[in-house]
Every structure is written in C-alpha cells, then in structure tokens.
Amino acid sequence: MDLSGTAEEDAFRHGLRAWLSETLPKLPPRPDPLDWPGRRAYDLGWQRALYDAGYAGLHWPADAGGGGATPTQHLIFLEETERAGAPYVGANFVGLLHAGPTIAAEGTAEQRRRWLPPVLRGEEVWCQGFSEPEAGSDLAALRTRAVRDGDAYVVTGTKIWTSHAEVADWCELLVRTDPDAPRHRGISWLAMPMDAPGVTVRPLRTLAGSTEFAEVFLDEVRVPVANRVGAENDGWRVTMVTLSFERGTAFVGEVVACRRVLGELARTARANGTWDDAVLRRRLGRLNAEFTALWRLTQWNVGQAEGDLAAGGTGVPGVGGSVFKLRYSHARQELFDTAADVLGPGALDTGEEWTADRLSSLSYTIAAGTSQIQRNIVAERVLGLPKGR
C-alpha cells in the first residue's frame, strides 16, 4: 500500500502542472452554455491543445495513437486538470471515452485509421445513440432496427439522452440487426454520420430547464455496412468493452470538483452564519469524510485496475465501478441538498450555481444504471446472490 507517487509519476505530474499553468491563461473565453457551435469549437480547440502537447488520448493504447498511460497516470491527469480549472472534456466525451476506445479495441485497421486520429486531434465530434425511450434501464430492449440493403443498413428508430447531437459528426449507434435472436444477440454497433438523410435531432429539455440532451429520430437512414464495428449481431459484446473501459477513473474530476465545492460551502457557511447551526456544520463534516473516502476509493479502484492490467487483464474495475457509483451518486445528492441549507432562500434561486447543480444531481441515481440496477449488479455479480425474484 503506497499512496506516494513514483519518480516517474511525480515527473509526469509536474510536467502537466507546468504545461497547464502556461496554457490555461491563453485559452479563449468560455462560450455561452446555449451556444452549441461555440462550445464545439472551444472543446475541439482544447483537445487540439492537448494533442499538440502530447496529452491527447492519454489512456488509449499506444498503437491507437494514445499515450498508453497507466490508470494511475490517467488519474493524475484528470486530478490535475480539474484542480487547475481546465476545460471539461465536453464535446469530446464520447469520442475519447466510448466510441474511440471501442474502435481501438474492435475496429479494423482501416476503421482505426479513419476514425481515431480525428478524435485525438480534435477534429471530429461523436455522440452516443444507445438509449431509447422504451428501453430505459433495460438497454438490451432497444428497438431501433437496421435492415440490410446491399452495402448499407437502413436504420429506423428513436434514440434519447444523446449529448452534443446538435454538433456531432458521428454517432456510435446500437441497432437491432436480428429481431428474432435473443435480446442481447441481435444487436450491432454502427458509426453513423450525423449528416445522413433521415437523421433529425430534437433538443430534450430536462427538469433543470437545460437542453444538454437531445432525442435523435432515425427515419430510414442509410449507414454503410463498412461502418459496422465488430461482427454483425455482436454489438452487445462490442459495447460492453466500451462501457467498461474506464478503469476506475470515471469520476475522478467530479470528486475533485465536489471536494472544492465542499470547501466553498464551508466558507460560505462561515460567512453567512449558517455555520453556527451545529446540525448543518456536522453534516458538512460528515460530507468531508464522505468525499475524502470517495477519493481514497477512487485511488483504490485505480490500483485494482492497475493490478489487473499488470496481470494481463483488462483493467476493468469490476466490483469497484458499481460500488463507487452507488456511494457517489447519493453523496453528490446529499452535497447539494446540504448546499441548499447553506444557501437558505437562495436554494430556491436557479441563478445560484449550487441550485442548478442540485437539480442536475437528481439524475445521478438514475443515469448510466439506476441505483437499483447497480445494487442488483453488486449483489449478483460480486456477492454471488441468486438471480430472479
């Protein structure tokens, strides 16, 4: 058990810090949240800067053009960029964290050449077309169908919860290619150009009032068969590779950010007098323990991933992922509920950043597997409790 950095890790951290302190002041001003093209340009610009400095796709395999970094180095990268207030991954999220790694792992040489470099260089934006209105937590129940017609699939259906659909070049799409096969067996993974005829994007308004997400309607969209990654009907397995790629680092930046918010909450509470309320003060102390532990759990999970990789495994966090997400989702909601009590009447003002964060935190126990689904996973796959009922 060792939490101090190796010489190599320390050098990496210091080099990154130096680069960030030099680079961040030169960035253009952040675009307005409603300015999608501006956000695209800004996010791609940041990715290009990372690319030029050698930090692009740090966690991707070297043979895919990435940095081939260890999970620990990736953790350091995420920690330091968040600490320094660097831009978020933003529009590059799906390309860097889902579609890219999938293509790197499962694509042909040709597919890797076509799609990976533009992601790393900040030239193309991907979005994700997995979820559907009728499927929800039961992702494998997806209905979007793809019918083979010559050298193309003709795709019809509806996708939901797609971020950056308005400005994406590509969509990683799950479609049903064999309606008669068992649920998980008849699914394929396609790279769909977002400018193909038949693709319609409609912004989806969330309860927070924002339009971070969209619905994507597909009406007989022709997608070349050559855009399929992996074998036909093998898309479920291909996707699971993607979804489990994060090696324990999925929430590094968020935990760092939550710890910063917690410090700001304490400062605000001391300033506005709510600190004198022992109930609130002790809740803040409790949250300090919570996020300290979540940070340690992140390091623990990354260590497990690193060990698994070293032993020739995939570095997939396994138990860690669901355990972390369960604890973190609830801690994040408690953090912003507590922020509401620090704010007092300001808790009812969506002009307050924490009020907006409180609203968006409501999705954490639902998105990417509800807490109920996560508990099933932990109970069945980790603890070995029987399925059913």
């Binding site: 929800g136 129940a141 009812l348 609203l359």
Partner: protein
C-alpha cells in the same frame, strides 16, 4: 371521537377535486409551468373564490361558508394535489380581515420572516395587492397587511416555474394597518396546517403517479412495479403519506401548537421525499421537463421553506418535550 371524514367533508373534497380537474388539470398546470399561459390566472382565482376556498371559514352571515379548519385542510390538500399556483393560504387567512380577500378580488400574499431574519421570500408579489405580516416579536401577535405597491423587492429566478419569488426586506413592509381582532399566533398555526395540507396533496399525487407508472412501464420483461425494489419505494411513499395525513388532519381538528408543527414537518418531508422517489421510479423519463414530477418536487421545496421550516419546527417540538 370519530376521526373519519363526514359525508359532507367527503363531498366537499370531491367537489374541489372535480372543479380543479376541469379548471386546472394537466393542461392548466403545464401552461403555468411552461410560461405559455398568462403570468397570473385571475379568472381561476375568481373561480376558486366562488367555490368558497377563501371564504370557507367566514360565518355565513358575513357571506362565508361557515365551515372550519378541517374542511379548509381538505380543500388545500386538493389544491396541493393539483399544484394550483398562487398565495392561497395568505388570501384564505386574510378573508374577513382584508376587504376583497374572501371574494378573490384582493390577492393577499404573505411575508414570512424566519426567526431572527430581516428578509422574507414572498411568493406571487406581482399579482398580489396586499402583504400579510404575522408579527410575534412583542408577544402581542399583531397582524398587518400593507399594500404591495411600491415595495422594493429583488426577484429570484424561482426554481418553481409557477411560483414567482421575491426577496423583501422587513423595513420595506413595516407599515400597514394593524388588523384588530386577529391573532397572529393562531393565524400562523393555521398557515402551517394549510401549507402542510398542500404538501400532503402533492405527496398523495406523486404516490399515485409512481404507482401508475410502475404498473405500466415494462422493463426486463415485466412491469417495473413487479420488482421489489420499486415496490418497496412505493410502499414507503404510502407510509409517509398516510402518517402525514393523520398528522395534518389531527392538526386541523385540534389546532394545537405541537400538532401543527408535527403536521408541517412530516408533510414537508412527505412531499419532498415522495417527489424524489417518484422521480426515481420514473427513471430517465422523470428527469424530463415534460414529466410533472419535477413540478411537485420544486413546489415542495418552495413550501418546505415557508416558515416555520425544519430547524424551527424541530426546535419547537424539542422545547415542547
């Protein structure tokens, strides 16, 4: 002792539910929430007045309905269930004290200052004509109702899209005539009960919505309500609801300090937590603007901060031990 609703009470409640279903059903609610309707629905206010919502407890000889706090609580439960916007409680309390309140021609809102605070959040200030102040500092329990015109106030971007909120300073509403014969402390207890009744109505509606969704939404080959995790969420929602119901109805009957504090504390909690559980049962669909569940959560957040709020209630209930 017969704690059950009388036939008259049941009829009264059913009447208000029918009125609201017709006049402020889902479409009305969405108009208010989406800002596609007028900022203030004066005709609805008038209809509520005509249905007796404000004059309910005035003696018949004063043009009222001559009923009591239990009946008012039942009507406010219905209003909360439908998420009717507007300063219903303040106007109801002002009936008989402020001219026009009972008839719905004078809209009265309240400036409720939490203990030791000089700033109050005021709902629906632009639509209101008078501001109710229930002061208790000198122990005398004075009630004032200044006009709202010209009150300096800072608007919030209200989390509840159907409830505009403003910050008002105590000094800005210090004037206004003392309303003789009104007992501030009694009015505060009644305000707590009626606010609690609204929360109760919302908590009941979110149970129904969650159960409805759970019975029909299919995932993994069966209705999600067949899964114990969802089932037990719904069961706990009902437990919160029924416990709060007993507390609210009892407070409406007895009007005692500790029953009223209990009612507000448990109804606030039931409304907020039921809305959150309802959202969880709905999954991603609950996170959309189109689903109504967020409107229940946001209204519940607004009403739980109407004084007396949690800290004050818990301290009072502790002091009463």
């Amino acid at each position: 002792m017969d704690f059950r609703l009388t036939d008259e009470q049941t009829a009264l409640r059913d009447g208000m539910r029918a009125l609201l279903e017709g006049r402020f059903g889902r479409e009305g609610l969405r108009r208010a929430a989406d800002g596609t309707g007028p900022p203030w629905d004066a005709p609805l206010w008038k209809e509520l007045a005509e249905a007796g919502l404000f004059a309910l407890r005035l003696p018949e000889e004063e043009g009222g309905v001559g009923l009591g706090l239990p009946e008012a609580a039942l009507l406010f439960e219905e209003a909360g269930r439908a998420l009717v916007p507007g300063p219903l409680v303040a106007t109801h309390l002002a009936a008989g004290l402020v001219p026009g309140a009972a008839e719905g021609t004078c809209v009265v809102t309240e400036a409720g200052f939490p203990p030791g605070e000089r700033t109050a959040l005021v709902a629906h200030l632009p639509a209101a004509h008078r501001l109710l102040r229930l002061d208790d500092e000198d122990g005398a329990g004075t009630v004032r109702a200044p006009h709202t015109t010209g009150v300096a106030a800072g608007p919030l971007r209200s989390v509840d899209p159907a409830t505009p909120l403003h910050r008002v300073d105590a000094d800005a509403v210090a004037d206004g005539p003392v309303l003789d014969g009104a007992d501030a402390r009694r009015l505060r207890r009644e305000a707590a009960v009626l606010t609690a009744a609204q929360q109760l109505g919302s908590a009941g509606r979110t149970v129904e919505t969650a159960v409805e969704h759970a019975r029909h939404r299919e995932q993994f080959g069966s209705p999600v309500g067949a899964f114990q995790a969802v089932k037990h969420l719904c069961a706990e929602m009902l437990v919160r609801l029924e416990t709060a119901r007993a507390a609210v109805y009892a407070a409406a009957v007895t009007g005692t300090e500790s029953d009223c504090a209990t009612a507000k504390l448990l109804a606030d909690e039931a409304a907020v937590r039921n809305a959150r559980d309802c959202l969880q049962v709905h999954g991603g669909m609950g996170f959309t603007w189109e689903a109504d569940v967020h409107l229940h959560l946001k209204r519940a957040w607004v009403l739980e901060r109407v004084p007396p709020a949690r800290e004050e209630l818990e301290e009072r209930l502790a002091a009463a031990l």
